[in-house]
Symmetry: C2
Subunit: 141 residues, 2 copies
DNA sequence: ATACATAATTGTAATTATTACAAATTTATC
DNA sequence: GATAAATTTGTAATAATTACAATTATGTAT
């Protein structure tokens, strides 16, 4: 049983050939492809494939958190294998830092101001759960 | 001369009434509005307004870095006043941290894992310009 | 002020991504 | 193997965006 079939089964998704192929394509092409690209990319191996199926599969895989949709500024949706957790949250009250599951995918340049980007991280600031609770407790006295 | 007229002039954009109104709308409505929302939002004050004009103005303002377009996962573009710089870059070689002008706008939840988000920051990692240069110099010897 | 050139706006039509939906096919279950 | 459920398919509808030509407004020189 191949890797993708297994992944789908683990997520309680019946591993149809279409689903497996879409998933495989997204794993092998980590370039944030569009629906069109995915469709033409696997149409050769699955000649009966319908574009509607690609839409259906992508929607399902996103619901089940197997993939992530990211919106380009080009009027098309792009898709990517899930990479998470990828965020941190720092509380401005107590200073604690928490890992958060923000499955955000950076879509911008690979170079910025001449620096070569190899990784990134979204850092949030605010008031953490615990401090919020304490503040509520105070207000209710 | 109002604030928006001034801002446009500073950017060398002739301050037509349509441009001023779009800009004003985006300043007063920091909710990442869509073209549709902007259009209906100012149509009352500018009855002759065309939707094409809204598209034109938004494209121009984005080119001139006055606003930022952000793509929701809902098939529509959203627009926002520019807020930058909002990123940092940390070099994995020398450890230096640089401010970078990444005018990314976070579009996700305002709460995450029960924590209240009030600010955010995109942090990049990689190899900085200086270290890249040094590495090149070495390779060319 | 008037005539002219340039820039901006407008409205319509075309394009493109996405969704809705019903029919056909496949898969699972008894 | 028969039946029901799930999945895929193709077509048609919807909605956002773009292309483009015509109109309107603005600026400049005489």
């Amino acid at each position: 049983m191949d890797k993708y079939t297994e992944l789908l089964k683990n997520k309680n998704i019946s591993p149809s050939i279409q689903r497996v192929k879409v998933l495989q394509y997204l794993d092998k092409n980590r370039t944030h492809p569009t629906v069109e690209q995915i469709y033409t990319g696997i149409k050769g191996e699955l000649p009966t494939l319908s574009k509607t199926t690609v839409y259906n599969v992508l929607q399902l895989l996103e619901e089940k958190k197997v993939i992530k949709s990211i919106s380009g500024s080009d009027g098309r949706e792009h898709y990517d294998f899930c990479r998470l957790p990828h965020g941190h949250f720092k509380c401005v009250k107590c200073g604690n830092v928490y890992d958060v599951e923000e499955n955000f995918v950076y879509q911008g340049e690979q170079m910025i101001d001449g620096h070569k980007i190899t990784d990134y991280n979204l850092v949030f600031k605010g008031i953490c759960k615990n401090c919020l609770n304490k503040m509520d407790a105070k207000n209710e006295k």
